[in-house]
């Protein structure tokens, strides 16, 4: 299955979470998303969001000031 890339660079809290929620809402179970953000609070936020919504956070990596999260829709 193809991975959908979501570029939320430049956005600040709570937008990366909101935009992620909107994108994933439209997807079907098993769809994979690569979410990129340079919001300094993105890591704890996306972890909490996945925990609350039950979507699977496969990985989160940081390169410079950029975070890349791989999320699979539950």
């Amino acid at each position: 299955m193809a991975t959908t890339k979501l570029d939320f660079k430049g956005m600040n809290c709570p937008m990366p979470i909101m935009k992620t929620a909107i994108a994933i809402k439209k997807a079907v179970s098993g769809d994979v998303f690569e979410v990129v953000s340079n919001d300094p609070g993105f890591e704890p936020d996306i972890k909490a969001w996945c925990k609350e919504t039950g979507n699977i956070l496969t990985s989160i990596t940081k390169t410079g000031s950029e975070f890349t999260a791989i999320i699979t829709k539950k």
């Binding site: 956005m11 709570p14 979470i17 909101m18 929620a21 609350e52």
Partner: protein
Amino acid sequence: MENQELSRTVQELQERLDKLEAKNTRLTMVLFSGDFDKVMAAFIIANGALAMGKEVTLFVTFWGLDALKKPDMGSAGKNFLEKMVTLMRPKGPAKLPTSKMNFGGIGPKLFQYMMGQKNVEPLSSLIEMSREFGIKIIACQMSMDVMGIKKEDLIDGIEVGGVAAFLSESYASNTTLFV
């Protein structure tokens, strides 16, 4: 006989558990303040909860009502004191003062500029977004009465209710915040 009783008990427990679990999906907030910074905080939290798939109810009372006013709200049909209050209070999210460093209205402009620099979403669009996500807004009937605010003075698509409406939402939520 005993089996029947047991299955009835299990069913009752299941219903109580469902009720308890449903609480985890709800957030209720009181928005009392009409300060720009506090209204901003309330809508950021509301939007975060909505993004997590929670149901959010915002009970808006007293100064908080300023944030829900239509910018072109008029004072026709209001008595003298109500007209004065209407004249003196800000109308809508763009006109709210900050709780600190307001500097006669320059403060909010300064903060809005600084927030724009950091790509923080403006308050009006946070409000719009929460509405698209299905936030439930209840305006306090009593404060509306006191200040002569009519339902048509406030943004469309909201409900009007009293303390019981708020409490009923609050009892069904596991989180209630007062801003």
